[in-house]
């Protein structure tokens, strides 16, 4: 038996979800200059920025137009109805924070001249086909942050 002292030490075993392991963006004006996007979303509007100088529609929303370097951007509404361009269903290999939701559908939605990725709710893979109409849906996290999804359920 060695004569070296052996001691058990303590370590924090549980910590709250660190913000940098959280997939959802920080949304208020203290953390981002596009907080208006999330304010609009909270009111039921999916919006993005459009350059008032060159007319370019930008996704994701920006503070500077990469085409002409203008900061003169406006918020435009993308509407509530989209069309499914492509989709799949997450069955294996989901990241932390999404594991509990498996299986769930995700897709690419054609809306307002854009092709944006989103969760597709109220549907399983077999229910969906390319070209299906889908409707905007807003989800709220327990801390009040919001995000957009789409739903197969058009009756809202």
């Amino acid at each position: 038996m060695s004569k070296v002292k052996f001691e058990k030490i303590k370590r924090v075993e549980k910590i709250p979800l660190p913000s940098m392991l959280d997939f959802y963006p920080l949304q208020d004006e203290k953390h981002t200059r596009i907080s208006q996007f999330f304010k609009n979303l909270k009111e039921g509007h999916l919006t993005t920025t459009k350059c008032k100088e060159c007319g370019k529609l930008l996704w994701p929303p920006r503070i500077v137009c990469p085409e002409c370097l203008s900061e003169n951007l406006e918020w435009v509404d993308l509407g509530v109805e989209g069309e499914l361009y492509a989709f799949t269903e997450i069955r294996l290999g989901a990241p932390l924070g999404f594991v509990e939701d498996v299986p769930f559908c995700v897709g690419i939605v054609k809306i307002g001249g854009l092709l944006i990725s989103a969760r597709i709710d109220e549907a399983s893979y077999e229910d969906l086909k390319i070209g299906d109409k889908v409707r905007l849906k807003i989800v709220e996290l327990p801390d009040g942050r919001v995000f957009y999804r789409f739903s197969k359920d058009m009756e809202q």
Binding site: P60, E89, I90, R91, L92, G93, L96
Partner: protein, 392 residues
């Protein structure tokens, strides 16, 4: 400024796989193999080092890894040292920068080494790590990590061109066949079309055997001016051309989902700079992270027409003895995909093929030109190196 021709004179690899070894163990294995593969050169002679590592902060909780790797290899760089990060192309980025430094005269002996340790104790944590490669706040948040983005890519390719799951499965069958003959490969078992189609569904239309495995690994190469190459080996490999192109990042800004336009542009630039045509390519080590990827690479590299990639493999064209030997190593599908090291494993495969240092069942006899292709993210970025057995 006149540029120097550059050659790769040595390659060394750790065994790829689910390894009972740490991040730095893997680096040491590859480093030892690397310096044992070269004559008249020791780690102390190396003046520059580039370390390809995609996500050491997440996978191994390490940052600032280039000096760490140099220390473990016994290298004391006096010219250039840096880590290169470009997700799945981090390893090729290391080769590119080493090549540039040697070509311009900034370095005379450079190491490019890649490493990734992808088996942390918790696999869900590894999936989380991978899900911040695509724009985390706009695509990752919607769970678009690697399998879903390639699933929708496959769906669109099937929808637009009639590609079938059976054709995709053939890629897995071919690459697992070659990896069964490759001792450093992660997966050494053959698969059948039925086994691929019946494997668990990850994200439809992708089954488990449509996907490359998660893999631990490390691989390195040494680059020197071509005129010095024979001092270090009898059989150098010459870098004669390259092409790289990136278009957009978030899904909305991709050039197309069903056609990899940045690949077509990178290929045009690679053929132009190497002064070759696609028909001169004997070996193509390409980025088969998913079966659909290799099918779209036949198309993007111009080996067949757009939309005809499925038929290309049905006709046996990407096998050894066909139009072009695609992934005779077993590819990422069979060898595994340790992100920062993958491209370097594939570059070493071409070196071994030129030397005839591979199993006869996967030997491309008489090969003169090999390309190493890697892609990253949502396939918005593609990189190609053109390698030659003879100097140009």
């Amino acid at each position: 400024m006149s540029m120097r021709q550059v050659a790769i004179v040595a390659g060394g690899e750790a065994k790829a796989g689910k390894r009972a070894a740490s991040w730095r163990d893997l680096v040491q294995e590859a480093g030892k193999a690397l310096f044992e593969d070269v004559d008249n050169l020791s780690p102390k002679d190396v003046d520059s080092i580039f370390v390809g590592a995609a996500q050491p902060e997440r996978f191994a909780f390490l940052s600032y890894v280039a000096p760490l790797v140099a220390e473990y290899l016994g290298v004391t760089p006096r010219k250039v040292i840096a880590r290169t990060e470009l997700a799945c192309v981090s390893g090729q980025a290391a080769i590119r920068y080493a090549w540039n430094c040697v070509a311009t005269g900034m370095s005379d002996i450079a190491v490019a080494i890649g490493v990734e340790k992808m088996y942390p104790p918790d696999m869900a944590e590894a999936q989380t790590t991978m899900a911040c490669v695509l724009d985390r706040e706009w695509d990752g948040v919607n769970c678009f990590s690697a399998p879903p983005i390639f699933a929708v890519t496959a769906q669109r390719h099937m929808y637009e061109f009639g590609t079938t799951k059976e054709q995709m499965a053939l890629v897995s069958v071919k690459n697992h066949h070659y990896s069964s003959l490759n001792p450093i490969a992660h997966l050494r078992k053959e698969v059948t079309v039925e086994a691929v189609l019946n494997s668990p569904v990850v994200a439809p239309p992708l089954n488990l055997f449509d996907c490359c495995p998660m893999t631990d690994g490390s691989a390195g190469v040494i680059l020197v001016p071509a005129e010095d190459a024979k001092k270090y080996t009898d059989s150098p490999m010459y870098l004669i051309g390259s092409g790289q192109c990136a278009i957009g990042n978030v899904i909305n800004n991709l050039a197309s989902l069903s056609e990899w336009i940045p690949l077509r542009l990178a290929a045009e630039e690679a053929w132009r700079t190497a002064k070759i045509t696609k028909d001169d390519v004997d070996i193509a080590e390409v980025h088969d992270c998913f079966t659909i990827s290799e099918i779209m690479e036949y198309e993007g590299l111009g080996f067949c027409e757009k939309g005809k990639g499925g038929k290309f493999i049905e006709d046996g064209e990407p096998y050894i003895g066909g139009k072009v030997a695609v992934n005779p190593s077993g590819g990422i599908m069979g060898c595994g995909h340790p992100l920062g090291a993958t491209s370097i494993y594939h570059a070493i495969e071409i070196l071994k093929q030129f030397r005839g240092d591979v199993d006869r069942g996967r030997y491309v006899k008489g090969a003169e030109i090999g390309i190493q292709h890697s892609l990253s993210g949502a396939a918005n970025q593609h990189s190609i190196l053109v390698c030659s057995r003879e100097p140009r």
